[in-house]
Amino acid sequence: MSIDARAPWWGLSAPRFRGGAAQILSLVLVSLIVIFWLLLGDRLFSVRALQSMAFQLPELGILSLAMMVTLLSGGLNLSIIAMANLCALAMAWVLTSHAAGSEGLMWVAWQVIAVLAGVAVGTIVGLINGFVIAYLGVSPILATLGTMTMCKGLAIGITHGNVLSGFPDPIVFLGNGTLLGVPVPLLLFLALSVPVAVLLNKSPFGHRVYMIGSNERATRFSGVDTKRVLMGVYLLSSLLAVVAALVMMARFNSANAAYGESYLLVTILAAVLGGVDPFGGFGKVGGLLMALIVLQVISSAFNLLNFSPFLTVAIWGALIIGVTALTVLFERLGWRRR
C-alpha cells in the first residue's frame, strides 16, 4: 500500500531514533580527538591535514545532503550516485567536445552550458523519481533502485565504461582550488548547507517535508498537496546531486559511470549517525555536519596511522551501532533526551 509503504517501509519499527543523538555524537567526537591526538600528536591538526580533510569531506557531504532531504520525507534516494555520475558525464561531454576547442567568450559560454546540461539531466531524473513516488505511489526504495540502475545503465551504455577527462581550469578550480586557504569544495558545501538548512527549518516547504515524514496521511488530510511537496523533495535531492557531480568531476578532473559508488550506503549511515530518523520526520543539517566531521576525522587519522581504508569503513559501520547502543543504554538508565 502506497501510504504505509512510505512510512515504515523497512523492517521492524520501534521507538524512533530521534534527532537528539547530538550529545552522544559530540561526546564521541571529543573522545576521538583526544585518542587520535595522543596517538598522532599535532600531525592530525596540522594545516595540511586539516586542508586535506576539507577537500575530502564535501564529496560525501553534498551527497549526504541529497540523501538526507529524502530521508526526512520518509523516503530515500538510492539513485543519487548513479545520477551524479550521469550528470558528470553530460557535463564532461560538453566540456571535452566543445569547450576544449573554443576560445574567449565561447569558452566561457560552453562551460555554463555544460553545467546547465548537468542540471537538465538532474532535473529530468528528479522529476521521474518524484512522479513515480508521489503520483504512482511506488515505495521510494524501489523507484530509486530502478532509476539508479537506469542511470548507471545509460552511463555505461553511452561511455562503455570509459573515462572522460581533461576539463578547463575554472572547472578544475571548483574541485581543487583554494580561496584564502579554504578549499573551494568546502566553501561550496557550506554555501549549500546553509540554504538547505534554512529551507528545511524556516520555510513552509520544509515544515511540510517534516510533516510528511512524520505522518503523510495526516499531512494530506490537513490540506497539504503532499504530491507536489514530494516532487519538490526529489527534485531538490537531484539538484544537490548535480552539485556533488560537479565537485567530484572537478576534483578527479574526469568523469566515469562508476565513481563514488561505495558512498551510496555511507550517505545513509552519515545521515542516521547525524540524528536523521530513517523513518522520516526528524533530523537537522547541523547533526549531519557533526556526523560528517566525525567520519572524516576517523578516516584522516586512520590514513595518518597507515591503516587500511577498509578498516575505516568497518569502523564507520561499528560507530553507528555503537552510538545507537549508547542511546539505548542511556534511555534504559533513565537519562532521557528531548
Partner: protein
Amino acid sequence: MSLAASRPAFAPAFQRFRRNHEFWLLAVILALCLVLSIATDSFLTLQNLFDLLTSNAFVGILASGLLVVLVAGGIDISFTATASVAQYVALTLAIRYGLGWFPMFAIAGAIGVACGSVNALFITRLRISSIIVSIATLNIFYGLLIFFSGGKYITSLPKFFRDGIWWFEYDDASGAPYALNLQILVLVLAFLSAWLLLNRTNIGRQIYALGGNKDAAQRLGFHVVRLNFLVYAYLGFIAGVASLVQAQLAQSVTPTVLVGKELDVLAAVVLGGASLTGGVGTVFGAILGVALLAILQNGLVLLGVSSYWNQWFVGLTILCAVSITAWRDRRRRSAAAA
C-alpha cells in the same frame, strides 16, 4: 494455534492480487521467451538453458534467502559481505587442512549463521531499522575481511572443488554432454527449502504473520525475537552456501567481487512480488523475478545488443514493473472504495 485470526479480512482479495501478479509476470516471461525463440536460434536450446541456470544460480540462491527476510518484514543487504567472508574463510581452511565437501559447506554455513545472528542481535536488541543495521554490518564484515585478507585472491583451489560435481550425464544427438552441476543442484535445493520453510511449516506461517502484523503476531504468542534470529540466520546460511557455489563457478575466490550485488538480488525478489513492508511474497514469485532478469539479459546478448546496455534495460524493467504494480494497486483500491 488459530492462524486464521491473524490474517486480515481482505485476505481473499489480496490472495487474488498475488496470483494476478505472478500470472502477469509469467505472461511477460513467456512472451519474452516466445519472441527470443523466434528471433534467435540459440535461445531455445538445452545448452542455453543450462548456461542460464548455472550463471544465475548465485543470484537465485540468494534471492530464495532474502525472500524469507522480506516476508518477515525485515530487510538485509549485508548478505553479500557475509558471503564474501564465508567464501574466503571456508576455502582458506579447506586448502590448509585438506577438507572435503561437507566440512567446507558446514564452515561456510556456520559463518553465515553467525553473521546473520549478529544482524538479528542488533536489530532486536538495539531496535533500529534493519536496513540501517545491515548497511552498518555490510561495512563491518566487508571492511574487516579486506583488512585481514589484504584483498588477495585465492586461485589454487582443491582439485575436487574445481571439478565440482557432474551427475546424471546425458549426451544429446550431437554428442554435447549435459549434467547436473553444483550450481543447478544447490539452486533447486535452495528454492525447495525456502518453499518448505514458508509453506509447509508452522514457522513459515509465523514468519508471514510477523511480516503482516508484528504486534498481532506478538500478541498471538509468537516468539518475535526468535523468529527474527531464525530468518536472518537462514539468509546468512544461504549466503554462505551460495558463496561456495559462486567460487566453484568462478574457479577462484576474489574477496571484492560479491559486494555490490546486493541490490540486484533485492530487485529480483521485489520483481517477484515480495513487498518491503513484509507479509507478502512467494517462492514462485521470487523464481519468476530472478528468471525475468536472467532471461532479459541473456536475450539481449543473443539478440546482439551490446552488453553495455544490459543494465539500462534491467533498470527500465524494474521501474516499469514497480510502477505498473503500484498503479494497478492504487486503481484497485479506489475501485474498492467507490
